[in-house]
Amino acid sequence: MRGRTPAQRTEALGHALTWLCGGALALNLLLVVFLLGLLAWHGLGYFWQRPLVAVELADGARLLGEVHHREAGRPADDDGGQPVPDRIQLKVGNRDVTGADFVWLEEPGIAARSRPAEAVLLERLEWGHFYGFLRELRDGDRLLAAGDEAVWRELPVLHRDKLALRERIHELESGPIGRINYRLEQLRLATRRVELEAPPPAERERRLAEIAADAAAAEADYAALAEELFALRDELMREVVVAETAAGRSQQIAVGSIVRALRPNAMGAGDKLGLYLSRVWEFVSEDPRESNTEGGIFPAIFGTVLMVFLMSLAVVPLGVLAALYLREYARQGALVRAVRIAVNNLAGVPSIVFGVFGLGFFVYLVGGTIDRLFYPEALPTPTYGTGGILWAALTLALLTVPVVIVATEEGLAAVPRVVREGSLALGATKLETVWRVVLPAAAPGILTGMILAMARAAGEVAPLMIVGMVKLAPSLPIDALPPFLHLERKFMHLGFHIYDVGFQSPNVEATKPLVFATALLLIAIVTVMNLVAIALRNHLRRKYAGSAV
C-alpha cells in the first residue's frame, strides 16, 4: 500500500466492497441454482427407464433388476483397515416374492452380467414392479399363448381391453355407485333428523316409511349395479400372465392389474422418451398407489392449489380492509404504531402456533358450533367440527395476513396525497376517494402482498397437519356431488406429501426420488401461481402507469 494516496486507498476499498457485494449475490444465486439442479437431477431422473441387468453371482444365484446406485469401495490402508469392495444397489422389485425391492451386491461377487432383450418390467397396481421373463398367457385353464415372443405379441391387445375395462369400473364406482352411496347417506341422515325432531307418532311413521321406501329403492339400484361391478371385476382379473423371475420362480399376474408392460432393453431412445413423458404425465395426473409410494400426486396438487386459492380469497379482503383502516382512517399515533408492530410480529410467530389456534378456534369452536346448529343428525360424526380445507385455508389466511397488510399499507402510502386531494376537491367523499382512486392505484402493492402470501401458504406444512391435511384423501374437495365444493373435506398437500413420502413411507429407498420430484413440482406450482399474479400486477401497472402509451 506504500506510495498510494488516500484517494487511491479509498477507491481500492470501494472496489473490494463492490466485489464483496457481488460475491454475496453470486453465492445466493449459486445456492438457488444448486438447489434447483439437485431437485431436477434426482427428481427428473426418476422417470427415465434404465436398462435391466441380469446378474449371476459367484454362488450361482441369479438376479434381474435396474442398477439404482453405485458406491465406490476403499482399498486396505496401512493402519490395518479392511478393504471395502465397490458395491452396487440393484432394484430387483418383485416385492411379493422377495419382500424387498432392493439388494446390495459387492462387485467381486458378481460372476456375470448381461442385458437380455426379452427381460420384461411389469408395472403393477399392487406390489410394485415385477422384473422377469414372460412364459404363458392363460385364461384359467385355457392357454392363450406360450413362449416369450408369443406372449409379448398377445399381451398388448389384451392389456388395452383391460385398461378400458378398468376405466369403466372406475366410472361406475365414482358415478352411479357414488351417487347411490350419497343418496343412502342422505336417507340415513334423514332418518336421524326424524328421530331428533320427534314429530307426532303418525307423522313420524309416515316420514320413516317414505324414507324406508326410498332406501329400499336405492338398495335395489345398488344391488343391480354391484352385480355389474363384480362381473366387471371378475372379467378384469380373468386372464393372467405367467412369468418367471430371474431365480426361476413362476409367478401369476392378472393382466388387469398391470399398468405398463415394458422390455426396457429392447427400447430405443424414442420409445424411452415417450415412456418418460407418459410417466411424468401419470405423476401429475393420477392418484397415488401403494401408500403414496407409486402412481401420481394429482390429489396433492389439486389440494394445494385449491387451498391456496381459498386462502387468497380470505386473506386479501381481510388484509386490505385492515390496512385501509390503519393507513386511511385510524388517527396516526402511538396506538396505531403499536398495532403495526404487533401485526409485523405476528408474521414471526411460529406457524404451528397458528395451527393450534386454528384447531381450537376454527375446528372445535366454529366448526363444532356449525355442526350442532346445522348438522345435528350427523353427530357424533363431525362435519365441520374436524379438520377440513376451509379451516386450513382460514388458518393460513391468519398466518399470512400480516404480509398482505404490510404490502397494502406500502401501496397505499405510495399514492400521492395530491391525488387524494384532487379527488376530494372534485367533491368526492373520503370513501369515494379511497374506493375509486386510492385502492386502484394501490392494487399492484396489494397483489405483491398476495403473491408473498401465496408463496408462504403453498409451502407451509406444520399448521396444516392439525387442521385438515391428510396422507391420503378418499375424494377431492370438488366433485360432481352437490354442493360440488366440499369445504369440510380433508385434502392432500404437496408439502405434506414430501414429508410423508420421504420420511413416513414403508419403502423409503424407492420413494427418495419421488421426494425430489414432488419438491420440484411444488416449486414449479408456486412459481406458476406467482407468475400469474405477477402478470396480473404488471397488467395493472401498465393500465395505471401509462407506460403502454
Binding site: L424, L426, R436
Partner: protein, 279 residues
C-alpha cells in the same frame, strides 16, 4: 379536526370600506368570495393573520408573495382542503355567495363541487383520460353514457385538449405530457361546472410553452368562471390577473387592481418584492 370559527365583529365587513386601509380594499362591485378576518394556525405556528379580502366574480385574482407567505394556505381555505390536516385551527370566516363556508351545516362535498381546484403538481387519477374527466360526474351519480360523453367532450374542448386526445380517450392519463396533464386537470375541474376555480401554482412544473397554453386557457375561461391563482411568478400574475394580492409572512400587505399594484405599489414591501429586492 378542531376548526373553530368565530365571526370577528371588526372584520365582518361591518366597517365601511372607506375607513379601512385603501391599500388592501380595492373597489369590487360584485364579490363572489369574501374572506373575513381569516387567521390560521398549524399547531402553534400562525400561518395566516387576519386576512380580509374580496374576490370579484368572473375575474382572475392572483395571490403572490415569497415562499411560505401563506398564499397556498389561504387558497386551500376556500375549498376547505385544510380540514384534512389534523392540527389546523382557523378563526374568521369565508363567505361564498352570502353563506359561510365554515357553517357547520354546510355540505362540504357540495361546496367542493362548486369551488374546483387545480393543483401545483398535476394529479391525474390512475385512470383513462375519459374517466379522469368523467370522475366528478360519476361521483355525482351520473351513469348515462350520452351525458358523460357530452360532458367529457365539452370539458376537454374548453380545456383546449380535445383535438390532442380525442383518439386516445381510453388510454391512461399518466401517459400524457406534463402540460397536457395539467390541462386535463383543468378539464376535470370544469366538468363538474363549478363557479370558482382555484389554481395553486398550476405552471410551476411546466415549460414556457405549456405555461403559455395554460395562461391562454385561463383567459378564455374568464367569461364563465371566477378564477383565483396562486403564483410566485410575478410576470404571470401581471400577464393574466385583474386583481393581485401580495401576502407576506401570513399578512395581506397589498391588494388591488393588478396594473395599479405593479406600476404604483402603495407599500414599500410590495415594491421591494416586485422589483426583486427580496423574495
Amino acid at each position: 379536526m378542531e376548526t373553530t370559527q368565530t365571526l370577528d365583529p371588526p372584520a365582518a365587513g361591518a366597517a365601511p370600506a372607506a375607513e379601512r386601509d385603501p391599500a388592501i380594499t380595492p373597489k369590487i362591485s360584485d364579490p363572489v368570495l369574501e374572506i373575513l378576518g381569516l387567521s390560521l394556525w398549524y399547531g402553534d405556528t400562525q400561518a395566516l393573520d387576519d386576512i380580509t379580502l374580496e374576490v370579484p366574480a368572473k375575474r382572475i385574482t392572483a395571490f403572490i408573495g415569497p415562499s411560505g407567505c401563506g398564499k397556498s394556505t389561504l387558497l386551500r381555505c376556500v375549498n376547505r382542503l385544510n380540514d384534512l390536516i389534523d392540527s389546523v385551527r382557523i378563526t374568521g370566516d369565508i363567505r361564498f355567495e352570502d353563506g359561510s363556508i365554515y357553517d357547520p351545516a354546510i355540505d362540504i362535498n357540495a361546496l367542493r363541487k362548486r369551488i374546483g381546484m387545480v393543483f401545483q403538481k398535476s394529479n391525474p387519477f390512475p385512470k383513462s383520460i375519459y374517466e379522469n374527466v368523467a370522475y366528478g360526474l360519476r361521483i355525482q351519480g351520473i351513469k348515462k353514457r350520452s351525458v358523460l360523453d357530452e360532458a367529457v367532450e365539452k370539458s376537454l374542448r374548453s380545456a383546449a385538449l380535445w383535438d390532442e386526445v380525442k383518439d386516445r380517450l381510453n388510454e391512461s392519463a399518466l401517459g400524457m405530457s406534463g402540460g397536457q396533464q395539467q390541462r386535463l386537470c383543468i378539464a376535470r375541474a370544469i366538468a363538474v361546472e363549478p363557479e370558482v376555480i382555484l389554481f395553486d401554482e398550476p405552471c410551476s412544473a411546466l415549460d414556457p410553452r405549456a405555461t403559455a397554453k395554460i395562461e391562454e386557457l385561463m383567459l378564455d375561461l374568464k367569461e364563465r368562471y371566477t378564477q383565483v391563482i396562486v403564483t410566485h411568478n410575478m410576470q404571470q400574475a401581471s400577464r393574466i390577473s385583474d386583481y393581485t394580492a401580495f401576502l407576506y409572512l401570513g399578512r395581506l400587505i397589498e391588494y388591488g387592481e393588478t396594473e395599479q399594484l405593479f406600476i404604483r405599489p402603495q407599500k414599500k414591501q410590495t415594491e421591494d418584492y416586485i422589483t426583486g429586492r427580496f423574495g
